[in-house]
Amino acid sequence: MAAAASVKAALQVAEALESIVSCCVGPDGRQVLCTKPTGEVLLSRDGGRLLQALHLEHPIARMMVACVSNHLRKAGDGAKTFIIFLSHLLRGLHAIPDQENGSLVSENSQTLGRHWKNCCRWKFISQALLTFQTQILDYVMDEYLSRHFLSIFSSSTKERTLCRNSLELLLEAYFCGRVGRNNHNLISQLMCDYLFKCVAREGGFEEVFELVGDCFVELNVGVTGLPVSDSRIVAGLVLHRDFSGYCPADGDIRIALVTETIQPIFSTSGSEFILNSEAQFRASQFWIMERTKAIMKHLQSQNVKLLLSSVKQPDSVIFYARLNDISVVECLSSEEVSLIQRVIDLSPCVLPQASSRCEISNTAVVKFCKPLVLRSKRYVHLGLISKCSFAPHCLVLCGPVQGLVEQHKDALHGAFKMLRQLFKHLDLNYLTQASDQNYTSSPLIYKNSRESNQLPEIVNGSLQRPYQGTVVKNKDKLAKPQTYLKVYSNLVVPSIELEKHFPCSTPKVTPMDTYQTNETLRCLSPNKTGIIDYGEPFPESNSANSTTENTRIKISYENLQVTKIAGKGSMLPVRYKSREMCSSRSYCFSSIPAGSVLPVGGNFEILLHFYLLNYAKICQQSEEATVGVIVANALLGIPKILHKSKKGNYSFPQMYVRALHALQSGQPMGSRQTGLESVVGKYQLLTSVLQCLTKILTIDLVINIKRQPQEICDQDSEEEL
């Protein structure tokens, strides 16, 4: 059975999901109770977990959930925002088709059925979305949004030191959306303390985040039956098991790690042990015992007081260990072993098989080793002395029910993931040429800007970059010529349909660049009259472009003009020219610096909304503009939900108007919210959603197969062979 996939269906699905997740979004979000098939109950505000718990059947819904979990694996946060944003986008797309019908559907498709026509149209949109995501979004982020970014590092020093205050704000905002309303303060404080306790030396944050993120399960202990406020941090490592044999010890305690049984066994797998007489049996038993004894004696002589084993040891090993005052912990999981190895750099002892003498050199010193009793359960508590920048500490998480403890564990784990992402640079790259094409400006703006010099806002930043470099190199601050230059260069691109002009744009850029370089050079001598001269030919060429269809001729004419000016300009070194040409064609690499944050509460969304709308206003290609507007409006959905319960001055419309006003007048956006959130996380979310949307739009049919999946068909084919 096949069902036509449509935006409408996807929208219905997304809205259903939205209604569930939107109740848990933000600081006012509420909890959801999930039951497992085993009967356990789980509390959650984690969007990813909720979506998975629903076990959705609808194919589009399942696809969305898959996209969300993909995103979560990468970023660790943002599942709820994902769904909300997606449904707003779909709503936006669903609303446009009527006006846009003609412009987007090509003529050939009219002969096909209506559904196919729709699909074709959606495909165009999805392509536009993809272009938007890969090119415009990065550009807008880099050019406009980046100036609003705050950093989580304290700015006073050159080195990257984490500012405790901002970290607290960041974590609090994160936990606001993740744990129950009464507990987020407590949990974020706990996490903050934990982080600062775990970082042994300055600047080792990345390493700690990585280690804690990898081994979080081993670094926390859940205790039920106590109030959440009893959660605390304990120094050292807590192993989730009890001693098999415990002998109290203090002072210089050394530990050894083994991965095999210490007592030799009669025969290993694959071998055969032949017993010929009872005496032989007795002798071999005696030898085994003596050997175990000898190893333990040796360990004791090495001052080993604790033996960690990843396997179960026979009873007699524990007995001899106790005789020699050695405590034993057995059955450590491989994760625990690897954590211990990472922290204290201890490799397991290798026990020589044959010789009766053994040398155990791999031991490490621990501060203490004692049992820890938490709610009548006993744990092993080790005071490891760290060899890396992670000072081992464990979190004891308390809660009245297991479900709540689990929720806090998940949230903390997610927070570490989020911090790890935050501490990475995120590369933004976009094609400068492409942005040239996308960028169109009318002559009107050009004229205005010539007088008022306000254009930097709408100027293509990718072009700005190399020139800034040149100027700085020459130690000359020539802001004004630069501005004109940019305006000028942008105007070269004609404001006519994208598809038709695409092939021509390449030759156009080349001469333009020669001109620019030329001018930069000329500007070194403060000669301002020249600039006006250069500007003159352009309105002429532009108007020609827009009125006539025969662009090829015009372009050649324009090229001629430009080169002529360039020649007139004066001795332009060829070497210089070619380099500039290269840079104008190549990708522009930039990045969101590590640790970039923005105030929480929809700031990112409103900023991006504002700049996208601005961008769309000056963008004359309807497709780009439409996509830009849709994305911009969909972005508003998130602050709308966040401010849903606020009244009066803090209600969404009020806040929105104030923010826009502030942005237009160039003032800082006054934010009442005190929390911070990661920009990288938001950016990744945005790209993930757009990718998901393109995926949804490109599907035209959903085919329902009622057959057992996998294996069965494989078997058939084998039989045939």
């Binding site: 497992k36 009464n182 025969s267 797998s269 524990i318 007995f319």
Partner: protein, 570 residues
């Protein structure tokens, strides 16, 4: 072959608390726990239609463990209570009732969950800081130089469990026993930190409760035949003891993953038996008098030992190993090789004893903190209940040792606390309003809900239709029998308050608990002599009640915060 099956979609319900079904089940649960509460609480008979024995109880631990709840919200509630009980043993019903009351009251006023949770948490903080403060009027510091308060505490716990079926005299007897047991586990020469010993409860069903007793050392039950055999061995004085944790049954140890080929005519059993007998010879030559083994001793070895007048006791079980090694000072031996003399221990004396129809081997230690509480009760179910109660009491005593204070029982703490909170929020609302950003009305509503939850918790101690009063000076709990004349001089009708600290002749004025009375400041600061002099107080464990209060409010908040329930139907 594994079969893949499509997962069934989950069931998702919004606003679960508003559904009629949830409300009904919540109120059923509340009815069950409320009716069990207190000394006059009603008993519940739990019987599983699929088998198992019938259980008569009024204790939260037994009740909640046996109830099968299906709705996820109830599951959250009951597991929270069970977790609390497994941590603190006491105050399970208190927690459950308070939680149910809070949910019910808050739902009735219909404020947004955010405000409710914030304010509930704030009120909880107020309660905790008051209960922990010096001026607290319902907390008594424990003086360990006298047993008075501890005895009252134990007695209150026993009294509040009617399913133990004890008379007044029996309660006195058992509470004295429990206190003695507890004192026996405290080591005499204390170092910087105390490690408490262990008390073992030995069952003796079908006997009179008065026959219960506590003995230092360990009682090991044995059959009559063994008992008779032991009698002639009897010689006075200390014994040298060997304690084995390895099996002495002669079975082969693990031979590894490979194969072991045994040639024809070679008998490994004989080899092992030889080894065992060698061990026996060594034990005899070392003058060991008593051999105990966690697992099985081979009959030949047993025979050999008894021939040499060595007492052999096997199948001791893993639970007794730790106390045994403590009592005898041995290290459990884990190998059949030669035994080093350092692993032997000793006991001061031993004797055989017969209690009821059971025979015991009694080890009397030199100096150890292990004791056995021989607990008798008439029927199985009553014994089970009594055992849990004893464990609770012992745990509560341990908790009290850690945090040496107790709370007034009998409902007085709850009414006093409610009066304090009412007064506090009425007179100093500014600080709360500023901190939490809510309106005065909201605060009043929530305070009313919170306090009336506490008060109706105290009120559920009364099951016989009596009236409940509170005095307007101390804020204590007073109950009047049903069908008393309507307008009387209260001071003649009442005798003592719920905890027994106040009597009615102190020129107090009373009002009905559920009537709306003007908030008053309950007198704080207990007079010192009051705590010392009164010998018949009803007391509650401080740590357990404090935790119960916190868990109840947190759980209620959690449940009130739920907006969806997603049930996995797989």
């Amino acid at each position: 072959m594994s079969r893949l099956e499509a997962k069934k979609p989950s069931l998702c319900k919004s606003e679960p608390l508003t559904s009629e079904r949830v409300r009904a089940t919540l109120s059923v649960l509340k009815g069950i726990v409320t009716s069990c509460y207190g000394p006059s609480g009603r008993l519940k008979q739990l019987h599983n239609g699929l088998g198992g024995c019938v259980c008569t109880t009024s204790q939260s631990s037994a009740l909640l463990a046996n109830l099968s709840v299906t709705h996820p919200i109830l599951k959250i509630l009951t597991t929270a209570m069970q977790n609390h009980v497994s941590c603190f043993s006491d105050c399970g019903l208190f927690t459950a009732i308070l939680c149910c009351n809070l949910i019910e009251n808050v739902q009735r006023i219909g404020l947004t969950p955010t405000t409710v949770m914030k304010l509930n948490k704030h009120l909880l903080r107020l309660c905790i800081s008051y209960l922990k403060s010096e001026v607290c009027g319902c907390r008594i510091p424990v003086d360990f130089s006298s047993t008075q308060i501890l005895l009252c505490l134990v007695r209150s716990i026993l009294t509040s469990k009617p399913a133990c079926m004890l008379t007044r005299k029996e309660i006195d007897h058992v509470s004295a026993l429990i206190l003695r047991t507890f004192l026996l586990t405290i080591p005499e020469n204390t170092e910087d930190h105390i490690i408490l010993g262990k008390s073992i409860i030995v069952p003796l069903k079908g006997q009179r409760v008065i026959d219960s007793t506590v003995l230092p050392g360990i009682l090991i039950e044995m059959s009559e035949i063994q008992f008779v055999k032991l009698l002639p061995v009897k010689k006075p004085g200390s014994l040298k003891v060997a304690l084995f944790c390895a099996s002495l049954s002669g079975d082969l140890s693990d031979t590894g993953e490979g194969t072991v080929v045994v040639s024809y005519g070679v008998s490994l059993e004989n080899a092992v038996l030889d080894q065992l007998l060698n061990l026996g010879r060594q034990l005899v030559s070392d003058h060991v008098d008593l051999v105990m083994c966690q697992k099985v001793i081979h009959p030949s070895l047993k025979q050999f030992l008894s021939m040499h007048h060595v007492i052999a006791i096997d199948r001791v079980g893993v639970a007794l190993m730790e106390p045994l090694s403590k009592v005898t000072g041995t290290r459990p031996i884990g190998s059949l090789g030669s035994v080093s003399p350092s692993t032997y221990g000793s006991v001061k004396d031993w004797c055989t004893a017969k209690f009821g129809f059971k025979h015991f081997f009694h080890l009397i230690p030199n100096e150890a903190t292990v004791c056995s509480l021989l607990l008798c009760n008439r029927s199985d179910t009553a014994w089970d209940e009594l055992k849990v109660t004893c464990q609770t009491a012992l745990h509560v005593l341990q908790l009290t040792l850690k945090e040496p204070s107790v709370l007034l029982g009998g409902g007085c703490t709850e009414t006093h606390l409610a009066a304090y909170i009412r007064h506090k929020t009425c007179n100093e609302p500014e600080s709360i309003l500023k901190d939490e950003g809510c309106t005065q009305t909201e605060l009043q509503l929530i305070t009313e809900a919170f306090c009336s939850a506490l008060e109706s918790l105290a009120g559920s101690l009364e099951h016989d239709g009596g009236e409940i009063l509170t005095d307007l000076k101390y804020g204590h709990f007073w109950s009047v029998q049903a069908d008393s004349p309507s307008i009387v001089n209260w001071s003649n009708l009442l005798s003592r308050c719920g905890c027994g600290l106040r009597n009615s002749q102190e020129e107090l004025s009373w009002s009905f608990l559920r009537s709306t009375c003007h908030p008053f400041a309950p007198q704080t600061c207990l007079p010192h002599e009051a705590a010392g002099s009164a010998n018949n107080l009803t007391l509650d464990c401080f740590t357990a009640k404090l935790n119960g209060l916190q868990v109840a409010v947190e759980t209620a908040n959690l449940i009130l915060d739920l907006s969806y329930v997603i049930e996995d139907k797989n």
